[in-house]
């Protein structure tokens, strides 16, 4: 059962990474085997940047709320989407770290 879930999650991540790799490659128009590593890093960096943008937006909204400029709903919206993207990023990071550790522990 656990294996099955792991397989599904792994496949989902694989799809996401492949999709983002494709889009990253389409954008920067790089080709060849060498570029794969760079675009993967790019993908991760893009994801990180998205998360940071969301967090900053949430921060700005919170400050606005303190000074009475923003609606409660807008603040909650911003905070929730920031939390959501942070959680996603953390989950994917954990997954990647686990995968890396697994490779590192591999018997040669």
């Amino acid at each position: 059962m656990i294996d099955m879930i792991g397989g599904v999650a792994g496949r989902a991540i694989g799809n996401i990474i492949e999709q983002s790799l494709d889009s990253a490659q389409g954008g920067s128009a790089v080709s060849g085997g060498q570029s794969t590593g760079a675009s993967f890093a790019d993908t991760l960096m893009n994801m990180g940047n998205d998360v940071i943008t969301n967090l900053k937006d949430a921060e700005v909204q919170s400050f606005k709320a303190v000074s009475g400029e923003a609606d409660t709903r807008e603040v909650v919206d911003a905070l929730m989407s920031a939390e959501q993207s942070l959680q996603t990023a953390i989950a994917i990071r954990d997954k990647l770290v686990t995968a890396y550790l697994e490779i590192a522990r591999m018997q040669i």
Partner: protein, 139 residues
């Protein structure tokens, strides 16, 4: 766009619309006794609000939107009160055309719609986090 995130955004537009509705209701209720200041002057006229849907270009979703804040054309009630500053030469004062019962019912309806939209947001959040749990559980 992710349908789950999209639906919470749509629900958020519903919240916004209901907030505006509640604002109009509170205006009407607060001014239920607001008369004019000069003899024969018109009192507060009840405000109405109507909604419409707006197609979100990026996602193709129908977002709720306030289309118009209008005025209720119903005639004012008149009361006999000669000492009132807004009384005309016959001693009649025009009172606002606000019906408390209707406003309260409207407020209750806005409240229920708001709760329903909140529930949608809650549900989408729960589904998203359950899906993310798949990643965590397999570690």
């Amino acid at each position: 766009m992710d349908p789950l995130i999209l639906s919470s955004r749509i629900a958020s537009s519903g919240l916004k619309v209901q907030e505006s509705r509640l604002r109009i209701v509170s205006q009407n209720l607060a001014n239920a006794q607001s008369t004019g200041e000069t003899p024969g002057a018109d009192p507060y006229r009840r405000k109405t609000i109507s909604f419409s849907w707006e197609l979100d270009q990026a996602s193709g979703a129908a977002m709720a939107n306030v289309s118009r804040i209008g005025q209720d054309p119903v005639d004012f009630d008149v009361e006999f009160d000669p000492s009132h500053p807004a009384a005309d030469d016959k001693g009649m004062v025009k009172m606002p055309n606000v019906n408390m019962l209707i406003e309260l019912a409207d407020m209750r309806e806005a409240n229920r719609s708001y709760e329903a939209n909140l529930q949608t947001i809650k549900q989408t959040r729960e589904l998203l986090s359950l899906t993310l749990d798949l990643l965590r559980a397999s570690q």
